[in-house]
């Protein structure tokens, strides 16, 4: 058996005249956590939805989608039977309790009441929701609702998990809890495909990522390697600098420091901390801030700092 869980080639989707996904190809290995990153409107969600049959791809000659040996074009139900899906928007049955939400959903997998009861208890414990099992979902906080939607996606013990922005809008405690759980699932052998625009999320849990922008793949690789390959090690942020002074530019040029100005902040990139530090000594500006470059810097570098018309 191949070690490939998802193998996608030539994925395309147009909505009217808008190109949502443009000739997109990628592979996800088994037991890997794979992240699709990109600004809003980059095509992440559409890509994901095409893999489980919620959106129909436009078929080109070279289009091929293989998900554990099945194509969503004709075998979407088989794919959904072994997958768990967490959509972007929580969509629980607000009139039902936590327990009943899961029970109703267990029927879709043909579980008996007894099988479901065992599994639901396990999942409520896993997602730390046991105490809420008789509470109406309307009364749950956003973080609890999200955990319940994730628990729901795990009812069938999926071998593949699709997560569309799993932690958007949640507080740091809940985000860390969800990351822990996702790492646990990944380490137990579950393949995970997630979309996010939180760079930290990708950095924390993804083995590999793709950065998408304007319906296309921009970069692909391991988060750390992508940063080291594409960015200097450090960045210096100088606020209140609409136009860099001449002596400042001269210093950057002499030391081959790359810089850019956005709004009223100057960003200077360099792999030598000392060179940046030396600048702060000259300029005596107290608001200067030097830090390691991160995935967010990379993201902004490749997708641009300004908003596009879809964001």
């Amino acid at each position: 058996m191949s070690d490939c869980a998802i193998d996608v080639k030539g994925l395309n989707k147009n909505f009217g005249t808008i190109k949502a996904v443009n000739n997109f190809s990628f592979t996800v290995k088994k037991s890997e956590c794979f992240g699709l990153l990109g600004p809003n409107g980059a095509g992440k969600t559409t890509t994901m939805k095409m893999l489980y049959g919620k959106v129909e791809p436009d078929i080109a000659d070279d289009t091929a989608i293989d998900i554990f040996g099945f194509s969503p074009l004709d075998r979407a139900l088989e794919i959904k039977a072994f997958s768990g899906i967490v959509p972007q928007q929580d969509n629980l049955d607000s009139q039902l309790s936590v327990w009943d939400n899961l029970l109703v959903y267990s029927k879709f997998y043909g579980m008996t009441k007894k099988e479901a009861a065992v599994r639901i208890d396990e999942l409520l414990e896993f997602m730390e929701l046991q105490e809420r099992k008789n509470v109406n979902t309307r009364e749950l906080s956003g973080g609890m609702q999200r955990r319940l939607v994730i628990a729901r996606a795990l009812l069938n013990r999926p071998k593949l998990l699709f997560l569309d922005e799993p932690t958007t809008g949640l507080d740091p405690q809940v985000r860390h809890l969800i990351w822990d759980k996702l790492r646990e699932l990944r380490d137990s052998g579950v393949t995970i495909l997630l979309t996010t625009h939180y760079m930290e999320e990708a950095f924390q849990i993804c083995n590999r990522i793709i950065i998408m922008d304007k319906a296309k793949k921009i970069l692909e690789g391991k988060p750390k390697e992508l940063i080291s390959k594409n960015l200097e090690k450090f960045v210096m942020e100088i606020p209140g600098m609409k136009e860099p002074a001449r002596k400042c530019l001269k210093y950057f040029d002499e030391n081959s420091i790359r810089y850019e100005v956005f709004k009223d902040t100057l960003y200077a990139y360099c792999s030598s901390y000392d060179k940046l530090k030396a600048y702060t000594d000259i300029s005596k500006n107290e608001d200067i801030y030097i830090r390691h470059t991160n995935l967010e810097d990379l993201f902004l570098k490749v997708t641009g700092r300004s908003l596009n018309e879809l964001q």
Partner: protein, 263 residues
């Protein structure tokens, strides 16, 4: 956690049943408020129209008016409940609560989802017809034993109006547009399909239109079970109309709604 007995695609019956089960569970979660209207509504109609009007119109087409009206209400309540379920109900699940997005994460197809919903609305029509029947029995208005079969006309009515409503909902972008459906289509149907007075009393030009309406045929079936003198082989044509209507509108409705759900 990766091995499981639940990775097989469930059977068609399981898939349709699970959609139906979801709707029943949600419906029953507000049991008392949901069980109230099907029993109380026929009471208002019978009291308002039957007692008030009925005094002045002792007979309608040779049948005591209260029986005439009561037998018609058995299917109109099914019509309204199925139409509401598959218009406002469906639209809210589709656009506001996004329940369909959640359900389609499970191994069911969009077709399963829509057909399960139609079956649920049919069941609801059946239940509402039973409620009306219980009321007319309880007041001794209808005593004919054969009337026990009339809720099956309610089931057909529920299925007809579920399919038609799904078809319309597939094209509705704004929830307020359902006003055209309810006031423009269902209200006239209530008055001109032989529930309140016989279709034959309509102007000659309007009779073929009334005959084309689904409710007319369902009323005829329900009434014949309540007043056995009306039973005739011609009713098979009414039955055939209902079945063809469900199949054709159902096919159109599922196709149109699927296009809306699967992008």
């Amino acid at each position: 956690m990766s091995s499981s007995n639940f990775h097989k695609k469930p059977s068609l019956v399981t898939r349709l049943y699970s959609v139906w089960y979801r709707h029943i569970r949600v419906y029953n979660s507000n049991f008392w408020s949901n069980a109230f209207p099907p029993f109380f509504e026929p009471l208002i109609f019978l009291a308002g129209l039957g007692l008030g009007f009925g005094k002045y119109i002792p007979d309608m087409a040779g049948i005591p008016y209260i029986i005439y009206l009561g037998s018609g209400l058995i299917v109109t309540s099914a019509m309204y409940t199925a139409a509401f379920e598959c218009s406002y109900g469906t639209f809210i699940r589709l656009e506001f609560d996004r329940v369909y997005d959640g359900m389609l994460g499970a191994p069911i197809s969009a077709e399963n989802l829509i057909i399960g919903e139609i079956i649920f609305a049919g069941t609801k029509g059946f239940f509402f017809s039973i409620a009306v029947l219980a009321v007319v029995w309880g007041f001794g208005i209808i005593t004919e034993p054969l009337s026990i079969l009339s809720p099956f006309a309610g089931l057909l009515t529920g299925l007809m109006f579920a399919t038609a409503s799904i078809y319309i909902t597939a094209y509705i972008k704004n929830i307020n547009h359902f006003n055209f459906f309810f006031t423009g289509i269902l209200s006239p149907m209530f008055f001109f399909s032989g529930v309140i007075f016989p279709v034959e009393e309509l102007p000659a030009a309007a009779i073929p239109i009334a005959e084309a309406l689904p409710l007319t045929h369902a009323v005829r079936l329900a009434r014949a079970f309540c007043v056995p003198e009306l039973l005739s082989p011609w009713l098979l044509l009414d039955l055939l109309y209902c079945i063809i209507f469900i199949i054709v509108t159902g096919w159109l409705g599922v196709r149109a709604m699927k296009r809306r759900i699967i992008l």
